[in-house]
């Protein structure tokens, strides 16, 4: 039975926030080098300004605070962002199978990444790959919008088709470049395309942080409009919403957010498609409840999947896209069977 009362929702949100914070900290203990939970909590405490007895080694502190912590935070941000984007896109396209990669954003990002790795080199230092991926995402998004617009109208059906078509063309070009290019470099692109949080560093986290928070507020501001759009174009108009304008806003907002996230973490599948459905089963489809719950669930999901990615084939890193798809898919199959 879905939770719908005001008090129930508040308790659920508070509970999810607590579980997320606890998960983020305990997730720091897992990885190729196992570090005891007590050390992890003390190290986090120390960096938050508490006086702690320092009985751990310097390398353990380095691993926990400089390698794993930004990775966990990036995982939470990416999970939250992709889940929100999925919720919004499913509402505006009225299609329960819509997901963040549908509008060609991810293939555009992959195209940008391939160009940098194989041909351009590090034109902007460590930011070359994310920057090129973001520019690619932006380019493909604009291309999709331009193709889908007809006589000033933006219909969701055309948009989905345009997104799929642009994706296929871009992926064909990506694959062509990979096939003809240097195989060693190609392997690193493929690894990036499968998704990974390994590149996370404290000094780049501000960007996805700001984007996810801004995206959350933007989508919450659209929540009533998303409810109306989900019911249909005419209903949205009769309730005082400009259906076309609102849809365009939602597409631009979600594409930009996806572009930023994909450029940092690669194309992580499944989260944006399935987390919204799990969240709907929990709290129903009303977007003012659904968006925050989906964001928290997405964050929680990705934090733990990343733990699996770090440990399953340790010391190697499993690309997280493989882990989300495999674990998420199995979880969903179990849910369907029940």
């Amino acid at each position: 039975m879905p939770i719908r009362g005001r008090l129930g929702i508040r308790l659920l949100l508070a509970g999810l926030v607590c579980v997320l914070v606890l998960s983020c900290i305990s997730a720091l203990a897992f990885g190729p080098a196992v570090i005891p939970q007590s050390y992890v909590w003390s190290i986090v405490g120390k960096h938050l300004g508490f006086a702690m007895p320092e009985d751990w080694s310097r390398s353990q502190e380095h691993i926990v605070w400089l390698i794993r912590a930004p990775r966990v935070v990036l995982g939470a941000l990416v999970g939250a962002g992709l889940a929100m984007v999925g919720v919004a896109l499913q509402a505006v396209t009225r299609n329960p199978l819509a997901d963040p990669h549908l509008l060609g954003v991810s293939s555009g990002a992959a195209f940008g990444a391939v160009l940098v790795v194989l041909y351009l080199g590090e034109f902007a230092g460590v930011f070359s790959l994310p920057l090129a991926a973001f520019l690619g995402a932006l380019g493909s998004m604009l291309l999709v919008l331009a193709v889908a617009r007809r006589r000033g109208q933006l219909e969701s059906d055309r948009l989905l088709l345009a997104g799929v078509a642009v994706s296929f063309v871009l992926m064909a070009m990506v694959n062509l470049l990979l096939f003809t290019g240097d195989h060693h470099a190609a392997a690193s692109v493929v690894f990036w395309m499968l998704g990974g949080l390994g590149g996370a560093r404290w000094d780049v986290l501000w960007l996805p942080g700001i984007c996810v928070v801004a995206g959350l507020f933007a989508l919450l501001a659209m929540a009533r409009g998303l409810n109306a759009l989900m019911s249909g174009e005419q209903t949205a108009v009769s309730l005082g919403f400009n259906g076309k304008g609102l849809r365009l806003q939602a597409f631009i907002c979600t594409s930009l957010l996806t572009g930023v996230l994909v450029s940092l973490s690669g194309a992580i599948g499944f989260v944006g498609l399935m987390v919204p459905h799990v969240a709907r089963a929990l709290v129903g489809a009303e977007h003012r409840r659904l968006i925050p719950v989906a964001a928290l669930l997405g964050a929680l999901f990705l934090v733990w999947v990343d733990v699996a990615a770090r440990t399953l084939i340790a010391p190697e890193d499993l690309p997280i896209g493989i882990a989300t798809a495999a674990l998420g898919g199995l979880f969903f199959l179990v849910m369907l069977r029940r």
Binding site: P2, R4, Q90, A91, R94, P96, R151, L220, A221, R224, G225, N227, A228, M230, S231, G232, Q234, T235, V237, S238, L239, G240, F241, N242, R280, A281, G284, A285, E286
Partner: protein, 259 residues
């Protein structure tokens, strides 16, 4: 209560290469305060298009639409949604909205971006649900309701918009005779200005103060049910023979199809 007046309204769909196809031509229509106005006409005659123009969904090519003396197109969509509520044949998709969620959407035109629902909003929703006799359904999933119940939920949503004018597109579709009559009596009892399209001529005759007849995008007759619903007009507009006499119990006309 509001008045709606439409003058010289025309609307065309653009056709690629070629002259535009005019689907509404020179429409004039007036809904006075508290009046129940019916719109009848064959399929494809332009009923739905005309209603869409009236609630600001399609932009007419020519003509004026005024609500309470103000040009509707000079005002925002939100402004008109605070004054005009619409009951359509468009049901929310199966995404798991409850009856209460659907009805509460009607408060949207009165709310700012981040406004939470207040106890006043909750009261409006509860009242509207009671009004349509669905109080006990509030927590149920909208998708599980029957067609008639859905229709009544959408009416409840229109009521929480607190409109002056109510526009309904074939409101009695999906309803069995009992709910058809209940709904229309109910609408009459609201005291709102109402513009509704009908397929069933006898229902239009029984409940409307005045009727407009639309055929091929033009208003071809207007007046009280007794003035408009004649055997000649019905044959001319709908292309079927009918016998029109007086309802045995009331003053309005009765249409019997000659089959």
């Amino acid at each position: 209560m509001s008045t709606l007046s439409i003058e010289g309204l025309s609307w065309a769909v653009e056709v690629r290469r070629g002259a535009p196809r005019w689907l509404l031509r020179g429409i004039g229509l007036q809904v006075n305060e508290g009046e129940f106005v019916g719109l009848i006409g064959p399929n494809g005659s332009g009923k739905t298009s005309l209603l869409r123009c009236a609630y600001r969904s399609t932009t007419p090519a020519r003509g004026h639409l005024c609500l309470d003396g103000e040009d509707l197109w000079q005002r925002s969509a939100r402004w008109s949604a605070q004054r005009i509520a619409v009951v359509l044949q468009e049901f929310p998709q199966e995404f798991g909205l409850t009856v209460k969620d659907v009805v509460a959407m009607g408060r949207a035109p009165h709310k700012g971006l981040f406004d939470a629902d207040t106890s006043e909003d909750a009261r409006h929703v509860a009242q509207a649900l009671e009004h349509v006799g669905l109080s006990t359904y509030a927590g149920q999933a909208f998708a599980t309701l029957s067609g008639g119940e859905k229709q009544r939920v959408l009416l409840a949503r229109a009521l929480v918009q607190q409109p002056g004018l109510l526009i309904l597109d074939e409101p009695t579709n999906h309803l069995d005779p009992r709910y058809q009559l209940e709904l229309l009596r109910h609408l009459r009892g609201l005291g709102l200005s109402i513009l509704a399209s009908f397929h069933d001529l006898n229902l239009a005759a029984a409940f409307c103060d005045r009727i407009y007849v639309i055929a091929e995008g033009e208003i071809v007759a207007r007046g009280t049910p007794a003035e408009v619903l004649t055997a000649e007009l019905i044959e001319q507009v709908f292309g079927v023979k009918a016998l029109v006499d007086r309802h045995p119990l009331h003053a309005y006309p009765r249409v019997t199809w000659i089959t």
